[in-house]
Amino acid sequence: MRHIISILLENESGALSRVSGLFSARAYNIESLTVAPTEDPSLSRMTIVSIGSNDIIEQITKQLNKLVEVIKVVDLSEAAHIERELMLVKVRATGKDREEMKRIADIFRGRIIDVTDSAYVIELTGNGAKLDAFIEAIDRTLILETVRTGVSGIGRGDRILKV
C-alpha cells in the first residue's frame, strides 16, 4: 500500500543523506521525497511517499525514529490528511495548440506562468492523480519537459506534527 510518511528532523547537513541512505540500505521503496526548512529554521520537514506492506511501513517508521536527528515521524495516511504536489510543465504552444492548451490548463485549474512565441510553462498543483490526469489529457507530443516536486502532506484538523 501507498503511505505518506511525515518526518520532522534537525535541519543539519547530512540529515537528508541519513534518511535516504536508510531507505537504500534496507531496500525500502521511495516514490517521492520532499524536504525544506520549517518556520523554525532549526527544523526541516520531510514528506516521503513509500509503497510497502504494513509490516514494512512499521519497520520504516521505527528505523526512521532511530536516526538521531529525527525528532518525530508520523504515517499521514493512517488518518485524514491532505497531500499536494506541484508540477511545472513546459509545452509547445503554437497555432491552434495555444488555445487548446490554455483551455485544458483552465479545466485543471492550472496557470500559465511563462509565455513565449512557441511555448508555455504551466503550473499545476494537486494530488498525484490529478497531475497524472493532466499529462494524460494533453497531447503528449507537445510536452517539452516536466518537473514535479513530489508530495507534501499535512494532517487534517487537530493532527499536528511539531516539536
Partner: protein, 576 residues
C-alpha cells in the same frame, strides 16, 4: 574540573584530550598520520590518557571494541584521515553490528581542503554513515567539546553503538575556551528506558500460565548489565533458558536450567525447546537468521512471544510478537521481578515437570559428543582442556569459523563479558586485537584467543603491539590447515569440492611467535594438550604464548542447521 579550566584557551587537540580525561578514558588505541599530528602532540604532553600504538587501524578499532565488551568502559580509537579511516571501517562495522559502544576519533584534511580531493582525503562521514550509530564532522573548534560530549552520550545510552567524530586538522590547531558540559540532552534523541507497566503485567501473567516456557536472551542482557537480574528471574521461575552467541555468560552455563546456545550450531535441546515452547520470553535478542533459522518454519508452531528490547525496530522485525516491551532490559527485568513478587510466585499454577522431562529427553541425545582418539587432537578437546586449565574463569576471544563455534559450545561461560567475539558481522581477524583490548581493560586477567590458522593471519601483525605493551594473552590456534567452516559447507552442500579452502604455505607459527619476541609451541598429540596449556598459563604467565594445535583436519561442527532451514531440522554428528 570543567570549572577550573573554564576560561583557559586551549587548542582543539588539547580540548579533545581534556574531553577524554573528563570521560575517564584511560586508553586510546590508535595510529598517527598527517591530519592527527596536533592531537598526537597534545597526547604526548600528558599522561592520564595512554596511547596504544597498534600496527593496523583495523586492530585499533577491534581492540577498543573489546575494551568496551569486556569491561563496560568505553573504548576509544584514533586514526588519521583517508587510509587510516578506510582501514578502520571493518572494525567500526563489526562494533556496529553487535551494538558495542565506542568512540572513534578520525583526522580529516583541513576544512578549506574538504571536497578538493586533497591528499588523504576521504568522505569519512559518508563512508561510515551506514555503520555507525551516529557521526559528526566538527567544522568549528567551538563545537568540539559539545560534540565529544554528545558522542560519548550517544555511544553508551539507548541501544549502544559506535559514534565517530571527524576532526579536520585546522580544527585541532585552532583554539578556544574549554568548557565540558556536565550533562547533555538531545531533543531528537530520547531512548525509552522504562517498560510499559501494563505490558509487564501481561508478560508475567503469560509466563505464569505457561506449560512449556522458554527463556531466550541475547547480547542486550550483557550490554545492559542485567545478568544478575536475569539469573534471579530465571531461577525464581525455574524455567529453561538459552543464551545466544552474543549473550553467552548472561546466565551461568554450568546451571542445570541452561540448555546451551541456540541456532545454526546450537544444542539439540535448545533448538527443540525454542521450536516447541508455548511461551517464549525473548530478552535483548533479535530473532537473528542464525538463531531461529527460517521464520516461516519457526512460525509453524504456535507460541506466545514476549519480547523485551530497547530498540523498537528490533521488535516484530523478523517474528511477530504478542507482548512487546520497549525498555532497558535491566529496568524491565527489575519491574518483572517486582511484579512477580507482588502477585506471588505461588500463583504460578502450572506444573512444568512434563516439559522438563521432555527437555531432559532431548538433552540425553548428547548432541555435542565427539570422538577423541589417541592420535589426532580434536578441536573440541582443546577447548575443553582450556576450560579446565583456566577453571572456566578466563576471558575468551575468538575469530570466525569452526573454532569460534567450538569455543562457544565447549567453554561454559558462567559470567557476562567473558566471551568476546564478532557475532553479527562475523569478522575474521578480530581475535588477537580483541584479546589485546581485553588485557588492557582487565589487567591481570587470564585471556585466551581461540582462533584458526586462517583468521589469526588477518591481524597477525598485532603480535608486535602485544610485545610492545607486554600483553600476556594466550593464542590457542586450532590449526586444521583449512578454512574449516568454508570447507564444512563445501563438504555438506557443495559436493565435497573444496574450492580454495585449503590453506597452503602456512608459516611456522612457533618461529613466527619467536620472531615477534614471544613464546611459541606446537602441539600434535592429545596427551600434550593439557600440559601445554598449563605451561602457558603458569610458566609463561606473563608472556604471550602462541600454541599451535595441529588438529583433526576434517572435524565438523554439529549440530548444524542448513541455511534457510528450520530450528528442528538439525543435522547431527551421527547423520554424516
Amino acid at each position: 574540573m570543567a570549572k577550573e579550566a573554564k576560561d583557559k584557551v586551549l587548542t582543539g587537540a588539547e580540548i579533545l584530550i581534556r574531553c577524554l580525561q573528563e570521560e575517564k578514558v584511560e586508553h586510546v588505541f590508535g595510529y598517527p598520520g598527517g591530519s592527527v599530528l596536533y592531537i598526537y602532540d597534545a597526547l604526548s604532553q600528558q599522561d592520564k590518557v595512554k596511547h596504544i600504538l597498534v600496527r593496523h587501524e583495523q586492530a585499533a578499532v577491534h581492540a577498543a571494541d573489546a575494551y568496551s565488551r569486556s569491561s563496560n568502559k568505553i573504548g576509544v580509537c584514533l586514526v588519521t584521515s583517508g587510509p587510516g579511516v578506510t582501514n578502520a571501517v571493518t572494525g567500526i562495522a563489526t562494533a556496529y553490528m553487535d551494538s558495542i559502544p565506542l568512540v572513534a576519533i578520525t583526522g580529516q584534511v583541513p576544512t578549506a581542503a574538504i571536497g578538493q580531493d586533497a591528499f588523504q582525503e576521504c568522505d569519512t562521514v559518508g563512508i561510515t554513515r551506514p555503520c555507525v550509530k551516529h557521526n559528526f564532522l566538527v567544522k568549528d573548534v567551538k563545537d568540539l567539546a559539545l560534540t565529544l560530549k554528545k558522542a560519548f552520550y550517544l555511544a553508551r545510552t539507548g541501544r549502544p553503538g559506535p559514534v565517530l567524530v571527524d576532526i579536520p586538522k585546522d580544527v585541532s590547531a585552532q583554539s578556544c575556551a574549554f568548557d565540558y558540559p556536565e550533562s547533555i540532552s538531545i531533543r531528537s534523541y530520547n531512548p525509552i528506558v522504562k517498560g510499559h507497566s501494563g505490558q509487564i503485567k501481561k508478560a508475567v501473567q503469560l509466563l505464569q500460565d505457561a506449560k512449556r516456557p522458554m527463556v531466550y536472551t541475547g547480547g542486550g542482557v550483557i550490554l545492559s548489565n542485567a545478568s544478575e537480574r536475569l539469573t534471579t528471574l530465571t531461577r525464581k521461575l525455574g524455567y529453561p533458558i538459552t543464551n545466544t552467541l552474543m549473550g553467552l555468560g548472561a546466565y551461568p552455563a554450568s546451571d542445570k536450567q541452561f540448555l546451551g546456545m541456540p541456532g545454526m550450531h546450537g544444542t539439540y535441546e535448545t533448538n527443540m525447546a525454542m521450536q516447541h515452547c508455548d511461551v517464549l520470553l525473548a530478552i535483548g535478542a533479535r530473532f537473528d537468521d542464525r538463531v531461529i533459522g527460517n521464520p516461516t518454519h519457526f512460525a509453524q508452531n504456535k507460541r506466545k512471544i514476549i519480547h523485551v528490547d530497547i530498540d523498537p525496530s528490533s521488535i516484530s522485525k523478523r517474528v511477530k510478537v504478542d507482548v512487546p516491551i520497549v525498555g532497558d532490559v535491566a529496568d524491565v527485568l527489575a519491574d518483572m521481578l517486582a511484579q512477580i513478587d507482588s502477585v506471588g510466585l505461588s500463583k504460578k499454577t502450572q506444573d512444568i515437570s512434563a516439559w522438563w522431562k521432555q527437555i531432559e529427553d532431548w538433552r540425553s541425545r548428547d548432541c555435542l559428543k565427539y570422538p577423541q582418539g589417541p592420535d589426532l587432537i580434536m578441536p573440541q578437546f582443546v577447548v575443553q582442556k582450556l576450560f579446565e586449565v583456566t577453571k572456566g574463569d578466563a576471558f575468551i576471544t575468538s575469530d570466525v569459523g569452526q573454532h569460534q563455534m567450538f569455543a562457544a559450545q565447549f567453554y561454559g561461560f558462567d559470567k557476562p563479558r567473558r566471551w568476546i567475539n564478532s557475532g553479527g558481522l562475523g569478522t575474521m581477524g578480530v581475535g588477537l586485537p580483541y584479546a589485546m583490548g581485553v588485557c588492557l581493560a582487565n589487567p591481570g586477567a587470564q585471556v585466551a584467543c581461540v582462533t584458526g590458522e586462517a583468521s589469526i593471519q588477518m591481524c597477525i601483525q598485532e603480535m608486535s603491539t602485544a610485545k610492545q605493551y607486554r600483553l600476556p594473552l594466550k593464542i590457542v590456534n586450532l590449526n586444521n590447515r583449512y578454512l574449516g567452516m568454508v570447507r564444512q559447507w563445501q563438504q555438506m552442500f557443495h559436493g565435497n569440492r573444496y574450492a580454495e579452502s585449503y590453506v597452503d604455505a602456512l608459516p611456522d607459527f612457533v618461529k613466527l611467535a619467536e620472531a615477534y619476541g614471544h613464546v611459541g609451541m606446537q602441539i600434535t598429540r592429545p596427551q600434550d594438550v593439557a600440559p601445554a596449556l598449563h605451561e602457558a598459563f603458569t610458566t609463561y604467565k606473563d608472556q604471550l604464548v602462541f600454541m599451535d594445535f595441529i588438529t583433526d583436519q576434517e572435524a565438523n561442527v554439529f549440530p548444524m542447521i542448513e541455511n534457510g532451514k528450520g530450528l528442528s531440522e538439525m543435522i547431527m554428528s551421527e547423520d554424516l
